[in-house]
Symmetry: C2
Subunit: 347 residues, 2 copies
Amino acid sequence: MAIKPAKTMTLSDIARLAGVSESTASRALRDNPVINAQTRQKVQQIAADHQFKVNATARSLRTQKSHTIAVIILFDAKTQQAITDPFLLDILGVIADELTRQGYDMLLSSSKTTDKDWRSYYFDSKRADGLIIIGQGEHDERVEQLSNAGVPFVVWGAASGTEHFPVIGSDNRQGAQLAVAHLVSRGCKRIAFLGDIRHTEIEMRYLGYQDALQAAGIKAEPALQLNTDFTAQAGYLQTQQVLFNQLATLDGIFAASDAIAMGAMKALLEHNIKVPQQVALVGFDDIAMSAYCTPSLTTVKQDTHAGGKLLVAQLLSRINGNKATSQLLPVKLIERQSSLRSHTIAT
Amino acid sequence: MAIKPAKTMTLSDIARLAGVSESTASRALRDNPVINAQTRQKVQQIAADHQFKVNATARSLRTQKSHTIAVIILFDAKTQQAITDPFLLDILGVIADELTRQGYDMLLSSSKTTDKDWRSYYFDSKRADGLIIIGQGEHDERVEQLSNAGVPFVVWGAASGTEHFPVIGSDNRQGAQLAVAHLVSRGCKRIAFLGDIRHTEIEMRYLGYQDALQAAGIKAEPALQLNTDFTAQAGYLQTQQVLFNQLATLDGIFAASDAIAMGAMKALLEHNIKVPQQVALVGFDDIAMSAYCTPSLTTVKQDTHAGGKLLVAQLLSRINGNKATSQLLPVKLIERQSSLRSHTIAT
DNA sequence: TGCACTATTGCAATCGATTGCAATATCACC
DNA sequence: GGTGATATTGCAATCGATTGCAATAGTGCA
């Protein structure tokens, strides 16, 4: 029953078959009400019969709109690793769905591409109508430049307050504060922080960590604040390190991501340190695996669904000439086993 | 020092500024050797000064090539979940990098989009020059149809042998065989299989599982073969199930993915079953987290790097008029703690 | 019957770059 | 000086769809 793999049809073919002009055919296909209902139906029928699809390229050229959004994933300049954190995948999926729902295509740019000048490559060349920039990027001057160039874009991350572009992101500071306050409430007094504060988001989590300590009257110890990359491996190695130095008294760890937390947990367990009895552990992100490691990981859940939708909504609003505004999304502490202990227990 | 956000320049602007015709300008920018070296340099200089970027849309229209590849991620029709398996992200990253390297853009399609007719949407409309289809898809008649429609595309998955399109994928059968033979060599006799064999790839792993059992003279027990979705949760629930029924004697589990394996591990540990002493466990994929769970997970590593490169290479070859051929990639068993026991130990 | 007005449809320009072919300039060599 | 070959450059068509404006047909009303 399959219709022949029809040689590519153009609008002019359809017009000819329908016995109308190209303009009428074009209008009919776009449901322009000025076209007579019968004519419209006839044209649409013929187009459907021949599996005609508007040539997106020609349309884009004429309308000056690509109906495509470029999603750019920033990488750690140092590790240069490819998309790897499960959290990214999460939000990427939401964005993809939402863009599709809005009739936009999604151009995805990965590590190497970001060497290019995004503005030139995606925007000036008309490949995309706007940009969504994601990732635990460090301060990147390229982003600031974009905002001076009239390119519609939004960023997933943490607002520093000084930037001139819309940033959507979780309330990292509050999330961290919740997490660390939770550890404190479980009796932790010497709590390590694992994360790379050169990333704005992590910097915010670090501030939240300090907020909570201060609120509890605990003095922050620099030796417990470890610069840690975004990988389980980094979490593992840094935890070994801190254990080596602080073994006797460390009783809590706040990791800036679940991946880091899992690495940390591995190191703890290898040293026969009981989690959470001796050291309680909290992560950040609530990736799928967090519920299934042992002990399961207490963590801060980001609302990726709302985040993705908001990113898209704000960007499209910006593209349509309105303003896009920064927004902070609430987060939620998910308590699991890695911090499940009475606060009266001590080592 | 920033150059003004220059109003979009067109080729004709550049030509005028350089005092040459559009055709000369175009040729100069494309390094056409027929153009005088001085002219060429002058044009290129002017273009660079004004941050001129060729309008990709216009070029595509004229050349009839989009230089874009659509990557489509198939979903489980039942669970309808978004991209979630870390493994997908892995191979997606490789493909993205490789496409970029080859000068192609990547259009990513997620769940909802796949409701559409890919051929029409991506190919007929000239949005993409070719398709890469990824994911643990079940048999999907849409894919077969594509091959009759003259659309260049390649599939990541498992070749059934009867399909008429190029399939790149791991040697799932051998991988599973290695994994299960490994369990057998560790003394396992009653080995469960967790996976959804309606997915061709998983079906292959199931066959490998049977191969290994047969080679070891072990009779396969239907009660130990559990249909399991691609999630840690499914692995967890199914394992609870099998434990409930088979507690006394189950001594090994082969999970069709690492996510499933982690769910299984959780269930085992919750029942105070020692891994690997009482039940040894092997997964598939070698996702990043596998090395960092406790006990770390023995698994079968797929060569995503080679796979991604091959997918791209074969597709581009096909686009350039050559044939694309199916290929099976070798896999490797990664031994970690979840199966680390002497084969003489028994419960 | 005549005129204004509305409903439809078509003409032709346009989006921006690429390219086959023709045109011109330059040069070597007899 | 003449002739053919070679190096450069430009003209104009083309890719396929969209859209402002003009043209035509049809309708209602005086």
